[in-house]
């Protein structure tokens, strides 16, 4: 018996040592990741997705992937805002709304033109122009908000910043929703389709061209965003400010400029999501509420300020919604994610990818 006990202690210390070595093999890292909270959740999600698609048909997988990408874009912007500026953005849905509204007004004449000239190149490029203009307008709107509101608050008072910003964004949201209603009316402003082509069959499911394009736009944007953050100097300065504002100032980074950039990026991404999904969500004053909630679900799920985690988070939330819709019915769509979020907040308040948000709160 004594021998066994000794052996087991040796084993344990050996395992500890393996855990502590810095140079782990790739397989070891992968195994450890799979057994972390994030790994378990992702593996479970993939498993559920596969089982559900076999049970209900592949449209579940297809729908998840298409909407998940857009929610991920929204969440990336929101996450960026939080990690760089410590702003809990509750007006983010309104940039989604502004994006879809702009795209609608740009698309209107383009749609008329292509109706008369169905073979012209505008039928292919026109929708892209509308989406890009929507993105750009939202980026500018974001910069204006930063200059007019958050910069002013920063100069005057930095106490209770988090709570103040929370209240301000809610106020902004109310103003923008009512502004939309006042100027453009409360009716639905939508289009039938961006790209008026026959649907594409994927795994036996017919998917409209718009959805396919929306997916590719989301993926391209995510890849582009990642490259920008990791390899460009501007992206590095954003990361630097989010990790240590004082340190960024000490190496000569203009924190002010980084804030402008962050707002432009973050609101631009929301606008891009709104504009790309105009064919699904026609623009009306409160169109942004649901996307806003979705992106908050994602952020809580993956942990505050975890920008990269928003991408798997987006797909997870989309899967939950698609599943609830097909198993419980349309009305339960918001209930199940909220239940899940509540459970996560109780058992894992820092989100499934346990990240250190120390630098964010320390500012």
């Amino acid at each position: 018996m004594a021998n066994v006990a000794v052996e087991s202690t040796i084993d344990e210390s050996a395992i500890d040592k393996v855990d502590q070595t810095i140079e782990d093999s790739f397989v070891q890292k992968a195994v450890r990741w799979v057994f972390s909270a994030g790994g378990i959740t992702i593996c479970l999600t993939i498993l559920i997705a596969i089982v559900a698609s076999i049970h209900k048909g592949p449209y579940i997988l297809v729908n998840t992937i298409i909407t998940g990408g857009m929610w991920a874009l929204m969440a990336i912007g929101l996450s960026l805002l939080f990690s760089v500026m410590n702003i809990a953005g509750f007006a983010h849905g309104e940039y989604f709304m502004a994006g879809s509204l702009t795209a609608y007004f740009v698309m209107q004449p383009i749609g008329k033109y292509t109706l008369d000239h169905p073979e012209s190149f505008m039928a292919y490029v026109g929708p892209l122009i509308a989406i890009l203009v929507g993105t750009f307008v939202c980026a500018i709107l974001g910069v204006i908000t930063e200059r007019l509101v958050f910069k002013q608050l920063r100069i005057r008072n930095r106490e209770g910043w988090l709570l103040n910003c929370f209240l301000i964004t809610i106020g902004l949201s109310v103003i923008m929703q009512n502004g939309h209603q006042l100027i453009f009316g409360a009716d639905f402003k939508g289009i039938l389709a961006y790209w008026d082509f026959p649907s594409v069959p994927i795994f036996g499911v017919y998917i409209s061209m718009d959805r396919v394009c929306a997916f590719f736009i989301a993926v391209l944007t995510m890849v582009g965003f990642y490259m920008f953050m990791m390899f460009s100097t501007a992206g590095k300065t954003i990361r630097a400010v989010s990790q240590d504002e004082e340190g960024a100032r000490m190496v000569g980074i203009s924190v002010d400029a980084v804030h402008i950039m962050t707002f432009a990026l973050s609101c631009g991404l929301a606008g891009l999501a709104g504009a790309s999904l105009l064919f699904m969500f026609p623009s009306y004053p409160t169109v942004g509420v649901m996307p806003l909630y979705n992106s908050w679900f994602i952020i809580i799920l993956v942990g505050f300020g975890n920008v990269a985690g928003s991408i798997p988070g987006g797909f997870m939330i989309a899967l939950f919604q698609v599943l609830t819709r097909s198993y419980f019915g349309e009305g339960w769509e918001a209930v199940v994610p909220v239940l899940l979020i509540s459970l996560i907040l109780i058992f894992k308040p820092s989100g499934i990818f346990a990240t250190k948000v120390r630098t964010v709160w320390d500012q």
Partner: protein, 235 residues
């Protein structure tokens, strides 16, 4: 004079910490600013580097007034500040941190030269090049912060308490690197609590007590001063 401070007042909001401070640092000098806890040493450095706004007085750097200038602009003028908290970018690798340090340097050749010098000065950083700064040990963090400061090829380097929390061996190493840096032509203004070692390293020193400068002079003279010996050196 590279740095000249004339009757500077500074502090945090209503709390004034520095009262009528005047000091000057010449090009190529190694000047120390010593004093007890809470005397305002760190506040002085923060005010020079632009993280704090002065409440009165003047700060001249190479003839230009930099008082009240924003931190990133002060850095562009050629002042590097290595703070007590180090302010590293913990989720970036050592190399990325150093690259961010060279943010104000546009010339790639100069960047490369600086990087080589940093790696030569701290071979440990070269070994840990791809490790996240947050995973470094205390001593390595200090080296990292000093290295990041060097990367901007500063004319004046403000160093705040490099010996804080370090083992004596590592402290010696850090002091040695500062001396090497000084010999290479960088002017250094060092804030320290380790008075004995600092007076041996620096050429000139100021003694700050309760927000006022009480003594100044050549380091050897100060080391033999009765007041300094009694209070700081304990013999």
């Amino acid at each position: 004079m590279l740095l000249e401070i004339k009757s500077l007042d500074s502090g945090y909001g209503f709390l004034q910490v520095l009262w009528d401070i005047s000091l000057s640092v010449d090009e190529g000098e190694f000047v120390a600013l010593i004093g007890p806890n809470g005397a305002g040493k760190s506040t002085t450095l923060k005010t020079i580097s632009g993280l704090l706004e002065p409440q009165g007085g003047e700060i001249l750097f190479a003839g230009d007034s930099i008082g009240g200038l924003e931190g990133h602009l002060v850095c562009r003028k050629g002042v590097a500040f290595i703070s007590e908290e180090l302010n590293l970018f913990v989720n970036m690798t050592v190399k990325e941190n150093l690259e961010m340090g060279a943010f104000t340097v546009d010339d790639p050749a100069r960047q490369k030269e600086n990087l080589e010098f940093v790696y030569e000065l701290f071979p440990r950083l070269y070994e840990r090049e791809n490790q996240y700064a947050g995973t470094l040990s205390g001593g390595e963090r200090k080296m990292m912060a000093i290295g990041r400061g060097i990367m901007s090829s500063p004319r004046l380097m403000l160093v705040d308490e490099p010996s804080l929390g370090l083992a004596p061996m590592l402290t010696n190493e850090v002091f040695k690197s500062l001396r090497t840096l000084n010999k290479r032509g960088t002017t250094i203004l060092l804030v320290e609590q380790n008075v004995g070692k600092t007076l041996k390293t620096s050429s000139r020193a100021y003694i700050l007590e309760k927000g006022k400068i009480v003594l100044e002079g050549r380091s050897e003279d100060l080391a033999n001063d009765d007041h300094v010996r009694k209070i700081y050196l304990g013999h």
